[in-house]
Protein backbone atom coordinates (compact mmCIF):
# COMPACT_ATOMS: atom_id res chain seq x y z
CA UNK A 1 0.00 0.00 0.00
CA UNK A 2 1.16 3.51 -0.80
CA UNK A 3 1.81 5.09 2.59
CA UNK A 4 3.36 8.34 1.43
CA UNK A 5 1.68 11.52 2.70
CA UNK A 6 -0.93 12.71 0.22
CA UNK A 7 -0.92 16.40 -0.63
CA UNK A 8 -4.34 16.40 -2.27
CA UNK A 9 -6.83 18.20 -0.05
CA UNK A 10 -10.57 18.10 -0.03
CA UNK A 11 -10.55 21.65 -1.32
CA UNK A 12 -9.32 20.70 -4.79
CA UNK A 13 -12.05 20.92 -7.38
CA UNK A 14 -14.85 21.28 -4.83
CA UNK A 15 -18.37 21.92 -6.10
CA UNK A 16 -20.28 24.96 -4.74
CA UNK A 17 -23.15 22.79 -3.54
CA UNK A 18 -20.76 21.08 -1.11
CA UNK A 19 -19.87 24.38 0.62
CA UNK A 20 -20.68 23.55 4.25
CA UNK A 21 -20.55 27.13 5.57
CA UNK A 22 -23.04 28.21 2.87
CA UNK A 23 -25.28 25.28 3.79
CA UNK A 24 -25.33 26.35 7.45
CA UNK A 25 -26.04 29.97 6.46
CA UNK A 26 -28.90 28.93 4.15
CA UNK A 27 -30.48 27.03 7.02
CA UNK A 28 -29.76 29.80 9.54
CA UNK A 29 -27.77 27.37 11.67
CA UNK A 30 -25.14 28.81 13.97
CA UNK A 31 -22.77 26.39 15.66
CA UNK A 32 -20.42 28.27 18.01
CA UNK A 33 -18.15 26.43 20.46
CA UNK A 34 -19.92 25.29 23.64
CA UNK A 35 -16.96 24.22 25.75
CA UNK A 36 -13.66 22.39 25.71
CA UNK A 37 -14.54 19.19 27.53
CA UNK A 38 -12.02 17.07 25.67
CA UNK A 39 -8.42 17.63 24.69
CA UNK A 40 -7.75 15.22 21.86
CA UNK A 41 -4.04 14.79 21.25
CA UNK A 42 -2.62 13.21 18.12
CA UNK A 43 0.55 11.89 19.73
CA UNK A 44 2.18 10.37 16.67
CA UNK A 45 1.48 9.53 13.04
CA UNK A 46 3.46 6.31 13.42
CA UNK A 47 1.28 3.21 13.22
CA UNK A 48 1.85 -0.52 12.85
CA UNK A 49 -0.97 -0.53 10.26
CA UNK A 50 -1.72 1.41 7.05
CA UNK A 51 -5.50 1.32 6.65
CA UNK A 52 -7.20 2.17 3.37
CA UNK A 53 -9.56 4.70 4.93
CA UNK A 54 -7.06 6.35 7.34
CA UNK A 55 -7.56 10.13 7.34
CA UNK A 56 -4.20 10.61 9.06
CA UNK A 57 -2.30 8.66 6.37
CA UNK A 58 -0.58 6.85 9.21
CA UNK A 59 1.80 3.97 8.56
CA UNK A 60 4.85 2.14 9.96
CA UNK A 61 7.16 4.61 8.18
CA UNK A 62 5.83 7.85 9.70
CA UNK A 63 8.00 9.55 12.31
CA UNK A 64 6.07 12.64 13.50
CA UNK A 65 5.62 12.67 17.30
CA UNK A 66 4.81 15.18 20.04
CA UNK A 67 7.99 16.49 21.69
CA UNK A 68 8.76 16.16 25.44
CA UNK A 69 7.96 19.89 25.73
CA UNK A 70 4.63 19.20 24.06
CA UNK A 71 3.83 16.37 26.47
CA UNK A 72 4.65 18.67 29.39
CA UNK A 73 2.41 21.36 27.90
CA UNK A 74 -0.51 18.91 27.56
CA UNK A 75 -0.23 18.12 31.26
CA UNK A 76 0.12 21.79 32.18
CA UNK A 77 -3.04 22.67 30.21
CA UNK A 78 -4.94 19.79 31.82
CA UNK A 79 -3.78 20.81 35.31
CA UNK A 80 -4.78 24.44 34.75
CA UNK A 81 -8.26 23.69 33.35
CA UNK A 82 -10.56 21.62 35.57
CA UNK A 83 -13.30 22.09 32.95
CA UNK A 84 -11.28 19.92 30.54
CA UNK A 85 -12.20 16.57 32.00
CA UNK A 86 -11.10 14.24 29.22
CA UNK A 87 -7.82 13.46 27.50
CA UNK A 88 -8.39 11.57 24.24
CA UNK A 89 -5.17 10.05 22.89
CA UNK A 90 -5.03 9.22 19.21
CA UNK A 91 -2.57 8.82 16.37
CA UNK A 92 -1.29 6.77 14.51
CA UNK A 93 -1.06 4.28 17.28
CA UNK A 94 -0.66 6.56 20.33
CA UNK A 95 0.95 3.73 22.34
CA UNK A 96 3.97 3.96 20.02
CA UNK A 97 4.84 7.42 21.38
CA UNK A 98 7.91 7.14 23.68
CA UNK A 99 6.15 9.01 26.51
CA UNK A 100 2.74 7.36 26.16
CA UNK A 101 2.83 5.51 29.50
CA UNK A 102 4.20 8.54 31.33
CA UNK A 103 1.51 10.84 29.88
CA UNK A 104 -1.32 8.43 30.75
CA UNK A 105 -0.11 8.02 34.34
CA UNK A 106 0.26 11.77 34.85
CA UNK A 107 -3.16 12.58 33.35
CA UNK A 108 -4.82 9.93 35.54
CA UNK A 109 -3.08 11.44 38.58
CA UNK A 110 -4.67 14.78 37.60
CA UNK A 111 -8.06 13.08 37.82
CA UNK A 112 -8.74 13.20 34.10
CA UNK A 113 -10.71 10.60 32.17
CA UNK A 114 -8.17 9.18 29.74
CA UNK A 115 -9.35 7.61 26.49
CA UNK A 116 -7.02 5.71 24.17
CA UNK A 117 -7.80 5.09 20.49
CA UNK A 118 -6.27 1.63 20.54
CA UNK A 119 -6.00 -0.23 17.22
CA UNK A 120 -5.81 -3.67 18.96
CA UNK A 121 -3.14 -5.11 16.65
CA UNK A 122 -0.35 -3.04 18.20
CA UNK A 123 -0.59 -5.43 21.19
CA UNK A 124 0.64 -8.22 18.91
CA UNK A 125 2.69 -6.33 16.32
CA UNK A 126 4.69 -4.23 18.77
CA UNK A 127 6.71 -1.20 17.66
CA UNK A 128 7.17 -1.38 13.87
CA UNK A 129 10.52 0.38 13.97
CA UNK A 130 12.18 -0.89 17.17
CA UNK A 131 10.42 -4.23 17.62
CA UNK A 132 9.57 -3.32 21.23
CA UNK A 133 6.75 -5.51 22.57
CA UNK A 134 3.43 -3.89 23.41
CA UNK A 135 1.91 -7.01 24.98
CA UNK A 136 1.79 -5.25 28.35
CA UNK A 137 -0.87 -2.79 27.19
CA UNK A 138 -4.05 -4.56 28.47
CA UNK A 139 -2.61 -4.77 31.99
CA UNK A 140 -1.35 -1.18 31.80
CA UNK A 141 -4.71 0.12 30.58
CA UNK A 142 -6.50 -1.74 33.39
CA UNK A 143 -4.05 -0.49 36.03
CA UNK A 144 -4.65 3.10 34.95
CA UNK A 145 -8.38 2.67 34.33
CA UNK A 146 -8.24 4.20 30.86
CA UNK A 147 -11.18 3.90 28.50
CA UNK A 148 -10.20 1.81 25.47
CA UNK A 149 -11.78 2.63 22.09
CA UNK A 150 -10.94 0.31 19.21
CA UNK A 151 -11.83 0.11 15.54
CA UNK A 152 -13.34 -3.14 14.34
CA UNK A 153 -14.92 -2.47 10.92
CA UNK A 154 -17.12 -5.55 11.20
CA UNK A 155 -17.68 -8.72 13.21
CA UNK A 156 -16.51 -10.76 10.22
CA UNK A 157 -13.08 -11.08 8.65
CA UNK A 158 -14.04 -9.96 5.12
CA UNK A 159 -14.82 -6.28 5.81
CA UNK A 160 -12.18 -5.90 8.51
CA UNK A 161 -9.26 -7.23 6.48
CA UNK A 162 -10.44 -5.36 3.34
CA UNK A 163 -10.08 -2.09 5.18
CA UNK A 164 -7.30 -2.65 7.68
CA UNK A 165 -5.11 -5.25 6.00
CA UNK A 166 -4.83 -9.02 5.71
CA UNK A 167 -4.72 -10.78 9.06
CA UNK A 168 -5.97 -7.79 11.05
CA UNK A 169 -9.27 -9.43 12.00
CA UNK A 170 -7.61 -12.47 13.56
CA UNK A 171 -5.14 -10.34 15.49
CA UNK A 172 -7.93 -8.03 16.63
CA UNK A 173 -9.88 -10.98 18.05
CA UNK A 174 -6.80 -12.14 20.00
CA UNK A 175 -6.21 -8.61 21.30
CA UNK A 176 -9.86 -8.31 22.36
CA UNK A 177 -9.62 -11.60 24.24
CA UNK A 178 -6.63 -10.19 26.14
CA UNK A 179 -8.57 -7.03 27.00
CA UNK A 180 -11.55 -9.09 28.19
CA UNK A 181 -9.16 -11.22 30.26
CA UNK A 182 -8.13 -8.21 32.35
CA UNK A 183 -11.75 -7.08 32.74
CA UNK A 184 -12.34 -4.73 29.79
CA UNK A 185 -15.93 -4.86 28.57
CA UNK A 186 -16.90 -7.20 31.41
CA UNK A 187 -19.96 -6.15 33.40
CA UNK A 188 -19.13 -4.87 36.86
CA UNK A 189 -15.40 -4.37 36.18
CA UNK A 190 -15.69 -0.63 35.60
CA UNK A 191 -13.26 -1.00 32.70
CA UNK A 192 -14.84 0.49 29.58
CA UNK A 193 -14.13 -1.04 26.19
CA UNK A 194 -15.90 0.53 23.21
CA UNK A 195 -15.72 -0.49 19.57
CA UNK A 196 -15.88 1.67 16.46
CA UNK A 197 -17.60 0.69 13.22
CA UNK A 198 -17.04 2.57 10.02
CA UNK A 199 -18.23 1.59 6.56
CA UNK A 200 -15.75 -0.15 4.28
CA UNK A 201 -16.59 2.17 1.39
CA UNK A 202 -18.50 5.26 0.30
CA UNK A 203 -21.75 4.56 2.05
CA UNK A 204 -23.32 5.64 5.34
CA UNK A 205 -23.16 3.55 8.51
CA UNK A 206 -26.20 1.53 9.51
CA UNK A 207 -28.12 2.57 12.62
CA UNK A 208 -25.83 2.39 15.67
CA UNK A 209 -28.20 0.52 18.01
CA UNK A 210 -28.95 -2.26 15.52
CA UNK A 211 -25.31 -2.77 14.61
CA UNK A 212 -24.29 -2.79 18.27
CA UNK A 213 -26.79 -5.59 18.92
CA UNK A 214 -25.37 -7.57 15.96
CA UNK A 215 -21.78 -7.07 17.12
CA UNK A 216 -22.59 -8.09 20.70
CA UNK A 217 -24.45 -11.23 19.64
CA UNK A 218 -21.97 -12.37 16.99
CA UNK A 219 -18.76 -11.59 18.90
CA UNK A 220 -20.15 -13.31 22.01
CA UNK A 221 -21.46 -16.38 20.18
CA UNK A 222 -18.52 -16.86 17.81
CA UNK A 223 -15.57 -15.75 19.95
CA UNK A 224 -16.83 -15.35 23.54
CA UNK A 225 -15.99 -11.63 23.38
CA UNK A 226 -17.57 -8.72 25.25
CA UNK A 227 -17.53 -4.93 24.89
CA UNK A 228 -19.56 -1.97 26.15
CA UNK A 229 -20.72 0.29 23.30
CA UNK A 230 -20.41 0.44 19.53
CA UNK A 231 -19.77 3.83 17.93
CA UNK A 232 -20.67 4.25 14.26
CA UNK A 233 -18.43 6.71 12.42
CA UNK A 234 -18.83 7.99 8.85
CA UNK A 235 -15.77 7.91 6.60
CA UNK A 236 -14.43 11.43 6.07
CA UNK A 237 -13.79 12.41 2.45
CA UNK A 238 -10.20 13.53 3.04
CA UNK A 239 -6.70 12.24 2.40
CA UNK A 240 -6.27 8.51 1.72
CA UNK A 241 -10.03 7.82 1.50
CA UNK A 242 -10.63 10.90 -0.70
CA UNK A 243 -7.84 9.83 -3.02
CA UNK A 244 -9.45 6.39 -3.34
CA UNK A 245 -12.81 8.00 -4.11
CA UNK A 246 -11.30 10.31 -6.73
CA UNK A 247 -9.32 7.52 -8.38
CA UNK A 248 -12.42 5.33 -8.57
CA UNK A 249 -14.66 8.16 -9.81
CA UNK A 250 -16.89 8.08 -6.72
CA UNK A 251 -15.91 11.32 -4.98
CA UNK A 252 -18.73 13.63 -6.12
CA UNK A 253 -21.35 10.91 -5.70
CA UNK A 254 -20.18 10.36 -2.10
CA UNK A 255 -20.27 14.10 -1.38
CA UNK A 256 -23.79 14.25 -2.84
CA UNK A 257 -24.80 11.33 -0.65
CA UNK A 258 -23.50 13.13 2.46
CA UNK A 259 -25.23 16.35 1.38
CA UNK A 260 -28.56 14.60 0.73
CA UNK A 261 -28.38 13.07 4.22
CA UNK A 262 -27.62 16.39 5.97
CA UNK A 263 -29.30 16.33 9.38
CA UNK A 264 -29.60 19.60 11.36
CA UNK A 265 -29.87 17.63 14.63
CA UNK A 266 -26.56 15.95 13.86
CA UNK A 267 -25.07 19.36 13.04
CA UNK A 268 -26.07 20.65 16.49
CA UNK A 269 -24.08 17.85 18.09
CA UNK A 270 -20.83 18.08 16.12
CA UNK A 271 -17.84 17.28 18.31
CA UNK A 272 -15.85 20.42 17.38
CA UNK A 273 -18.20 22.38 19.63
CA UNK A 274 -16.82 20.68 22.73
CA UNK A 275 -13.33 19.49 21.77
CA UNK A 276 -9.91 20.84 20.83
CA UNK A 277 -7.51 18.78 18.76
CA UNK A 278 -3.74 19.02 19.19
CA UNK A 279 -1.12 17.96 16.64
CA UNK A 280 2.42 16.70 17.19
CA UNK A 281 3.76 20.26 16.99
CA UNK A 282 1.33 21.54 19.61
CA UNK A 283 -0.90 23.42 17.18
CA UNK A 284 -4.62 23.48 17.93
CA UNK A 285 -7.51 22.60 15.64
CA UNK A 286 -11.30 22.32 15.78
CA UNK A 287 -11.07 18.56 15.20
CA UNK A 288 -8.71 15.83 14.08
CA UNK A 289 -9.95 16.14 10.48
CA UNK A 290 -9.14 19.85 10.33
CA UNK A 291 -5.78 18.94 11.83
CA UNK A 292 -5.02 16.54 9.00
CA UNK A 293 -6.09 19.19 6.47
CA UNK A 294 -3.84 21.83 8.09
CA UNK A 295 -6.79 24.06 9.05
CA UNK A 296 -5.43 25.57 12.27
CA UNK A 297 -8.05 26.90 14.73
CA UNK A 298 -8.94 30.56 14.23
CA UNK A 299 -7.72 31.68 17.62
CA UNK A 300 -4.66 33.76 16.76
CA UNK A 301 -1.68 33.09 19.01
CA UNK A 302 -3.90 30.92 21.18
CA UNK A 303 -3.99 28.25 18.49
CA UNK A 304 -1.03 26.66 20.24
CA UNK A 305 -0.71 24.30 23.16
CA UNK A 306 2.06 26.55 24.45
CA UNK A 307 -0.24 29.63 24.53
CA UNK A 308 -3.47 27.87 25.45
CA UNK A 309 -6.18 30.44 26.23
CA UNK A 310 -9.54 28.88 27.06
CA UNK A 311 -11.55 32.08 26.62
CA UNK A 312 -9.93 32.86 23.27
CA UNK A 313 -10.75 29.35 22.09
CA UNK A 314 -14.35 29.68 23.24
CA UNK A 315 -14.81 32.81 21.14
CA UNK A 316 -13.24 31.35 18.00
CA UNK A 317 -15.17 30.70 14.79
CA UNK A 318 -15.05 27.01 13.92
CA UNK A 319 -13.54 26.43 10.48
CA UNK A 320 -15.89 24.55 8.19
CA UNK A 321 -15.09 22.63 5.03
CA UNK A 322 -16.94 20.30 2.70
CA UNK A 323 -15.64 17.36 4.77
CA UNK A 324 -17.89 18.55 7.63
CA UNK A 325 -20.76 17.01 5.64
CA UNK A 326 -19.38 13.68 6.90
CA UNK A 327 -20.15 14.58 10.54
CA UNK A 328 -23.67 15.84 9.80
CA UNK A 329 -25.01 13.08 7.53
CA UNK A 330 -27.74 10.76 8.73
CA UNK A 331 -27.49 10.05 12.45
CA UNK A 332 -24.30 12.13 12.59
CA UNK A 333 -20.75 11.08 13.30
CA UNK A 334 -18.17 11.92 15.93
CA UNK A 335 -15.35 10.31 17.85
CA UNK A 336 -18.12 9.15 20.20
CA UNK A 337 -20.30 7.77 17.42
CA UNK A 338 -23.72 9.00 16.26
CA UNK A 339 -24.76 12.47 17.43
CA UNK A 340 -28.48 12.35 16.60
CA UNK A 341 -31.09 9.71 17.17
Amino acid sequence: MDDAPITLTQLDGELPRHDFAALLAARALQLPPRSVETLQVNLTKLCNQACRHCHVDSSPSRTEALSPEGVAAVLEVLARHPQIGKLDLTGGAPELHPQFDELVRAAVRLGKQVMVRHNLTVQLDGHPQTGESKAYLPAFFAEQGVEVISSLPYWQEFFTDSQRGKGVFGKSITAMQRLNAVGYGIEGSGLVFNLVYNPVGPYLPAAQAGLEADYKRELRDKFGLHFNNLYTITNMPIHRFALHLRKSGQYQAYMDKLLAAFNPAAAEGVMCRSLISVDHRGRLYDCDFNQQLGLVAEAGASASLFDFDYQALMSRRIRWGSHCLGCTAGAGSSCGGATAG
Binding site: Q156, G201, Y203, A206, G210
Partner: protein
Protein backbone atom coordinates in the same frame (compact mmCIF):
# COMPACT_ATOMS: atom_id res chain seq x y z
CA UNK B 1 -28.37 7.99 -26.88
CA UNK B 2 -25.82 5.29 -27.68
CA UNK B 3 -26.35 3.08 -24.64
CA UNK B 4 -29.27 1.91 -22.55
CA UNK B 5 -29.01 1.60 -18.75
CA UNK B 6 -26.39 4.25 -17.96
CA UNK B 7 -25.58 4.15 -14.22
CA UNK B 8 -25.99 7.96 -13.99
CA UNK B 9 -29.63 7.51 -14.97
CA UNK B 10 -30.39 6.11 -11.52
CA UNK B 11 -30.19 9.67 -10.18
CA UNK B 12 -32.89 10.69 -12.71
CA UNK B 13 -35.54 8.45 -11.15
CA UNK B 14 -37.19 11.51 -9.65
CA UNK B 15 -37.91 12.78 -13.16
CA UNK B 16 -40.71 10.26 -13.64
CA UNK B 17 -42.97 13.04 -12.37
CA UNK B 18 -42.35 15.34 -15.33
CA UNK B 19 -45.67 14.68 -17.01
CA UNK B 20 -47.58 13.17 -14.12
CA UNK B 21 -46.42 14.96 -10.95
CA UNK B 22 -49.29 13.97 -8.70
CA UNK B 23 -48.98 10.28 -9.54
CA UNK B 24 -45.21 10.43 -9.00
CA UNK B 25 -45.74 12.17 -5.68
CA UNK B 26 -48.16 9.45 -4.62
CA UNK B 27 -45.74 6.75 -5.73
CA UNK B 28 -42.73 8.22 -3.92
CA UNK B 29 -44.73 8.72 -0.75
CA UNK B 30 -45.81 5.07 -0.87
CA UNK B 31 -42.27 4.00 -1.77
CA UNK B 32 -40.81 5.91 1.17
CA UNK B 33 -43.43 4.67 3.61
CA UNK B 34 -42.71 1.08 2.62
CA UNK B 35 -38.92 1.04 2.28
CA UNK B 36 -37.57 3.86 4.45
CA UNK B 37 -39.23 2.99 7.73
CA UNK B 38 -38.97 0.23 10.30
CA UNK B 39 -42.38 -1.44 10.52
CA UNK B 40 -43.37 -5.03 11.13
CA UNK B 41 -40.26 -5.67 9.04
CA UNK B 42 -37.03 -3.76 9.68
CA UNK B 43 -35.49 -1.50 7.01
CA UNK B 44 -32.72 -4.09 6.81
CA UNK B 45 -35.14 -6.93 6.04
CA UNK B 46 -36.98 -4.81 3.48
CA UNK B 47 -33.70 -3.93 1.73
CA UNK B 48 -32.81 -7.63 1.45
CA UNK B 49 -36.24 -8.37 -0.07
CA UNK B 50 -35.78 -5.48 -2.50
CA UNK B 51 -32.32 -6.75 -3.45
CA UNK B 52 -33.78 -10.18 -4.21
CA UNK B 53 -36.60 -8.67 -6.30
CA UNK B 54 -34.06 -6.46 -8.13
CA UNK B 55 -32.21 -9.58 -9.22
CA UNK B 56 -35.36 -11.50 -10.14
CA UNK B 57 -36.52 -8.55 -12.23
CA UNK B 58 -32.97 -7.99 -13.58
CA UNK B 59 -33.01 -4.24 -12.81
CA UNK B 60 -29.42 -2.97 -12.87
CA UNK B 61 -30.39 0.34 -11.25
CA UNK B 62 -32.16 -1.43 -8.40
CA UNK B 63 -29.24 -3.82 -7.88
CA UNK B 64 -26.87 -0.85 -7.45
CA UNK B 65 -29.30 1.02 -5.22
CA UNK B 66 -30.13 -1.93 -2.96
CA UNK B 67 -26.56 -3.22 -2.71
CA UNK B 68 -25.79 0.15 -1.12
CA UNK B 69 -29.02 0.16 0.91
CA UNK B 70 -28.29 -3.33 2.27
CA UNK B 71 -24.87 -2.19 3.47
CA UNK B 72 -26.32 1.01 4.94
CA UNK B 73 -28.90 -0.96 6.90
CA UNK B 74 -26.31 -3.34 8.32
CA UNK B 75 -26.40 -6.43 6.10
CA UNK B 76 -23.22 -8.17 5.04
CA UNK B 77 -22.29 -9.82 1.70
CA UNK B 78 -23.13 -13.33 2.99
CA UNK B 79 -26.66 -12.25 3.85
CA UNK B 80 -27.02 -10.35 0.57
CA UNK B 81 -25.90 -13.34 -1.50
CA UNK B 82 -28.32 -15.59 0.37
CA UNK B 83 -31.11 -13.18 -0.56
CA UNK B 84 -30.06 -13.47 -4.22
CA UNK B 85 -30.18 -17.26 -3.87
CA UNK B 86 -33.73 -16.97 -2.53
CA UNK B 87 -34.63 -15.07 -5.71
CA UNK B 88 -32.83 -17.63 -7.85
CA UNK B 89 -34.41 -20.67 -6.20
CA UNK B 90 -37.86 -19.09 -6.34
CA UNK B 91 -37.45 -18.57 -10.07
CA UNK B 92 -36.22 -22.14 -10.52
CA UNK B 93 -39.06 -23.45 -8.39
CA UNK B 94 -41.64 -21.44 -10.30
CA UNK B 95 -40.30 -22.80 -13.58
CA UNK B 96 -40.36 -26.37 -12.28
CA UNK B 97 -43.79 -25.98 -10.69
CA UNK B 98 -45.16 -25.09 -14.12
CA UNK B 99 -44.28 -28.60 -15.20
CA UNK B 100 -47.50 -29.60 -13.38
CA UNK B 101 -49.32 -27.72 -16.10
CA UNK B 102 -47.24 -29.58 -18.67
CA UNK B 103 -48.14 -32.91 -17.07
CA UNK B 104 -51.82 -31.97 -16.86
CA UNK B 105 -51.86 -31.26 -20.59
CA UNK B 106 -49.65 -34.23 -21.35
CA UNK B 107 -52.14 -36.49 -19.56
CA UNK B 108 -54.93 -35.08 -21.70
CA UNK B 109 -53.03 -35.64 -24.92
CA UNK B 110 -51.56 -39.05 -24.30
CA UNK B 111 -53.95 -41.93 -24.63
Amino acid sequence: MSNYFESEDLAKFGQIGRHAPKLAEDFFKYYGNVTATDGALSKREKALIALAVAHAQKCAYCIDAYTTQCLETGSNPEQMMEAVHVAAVMQAGITLAHSVQMYNHLDKLVL
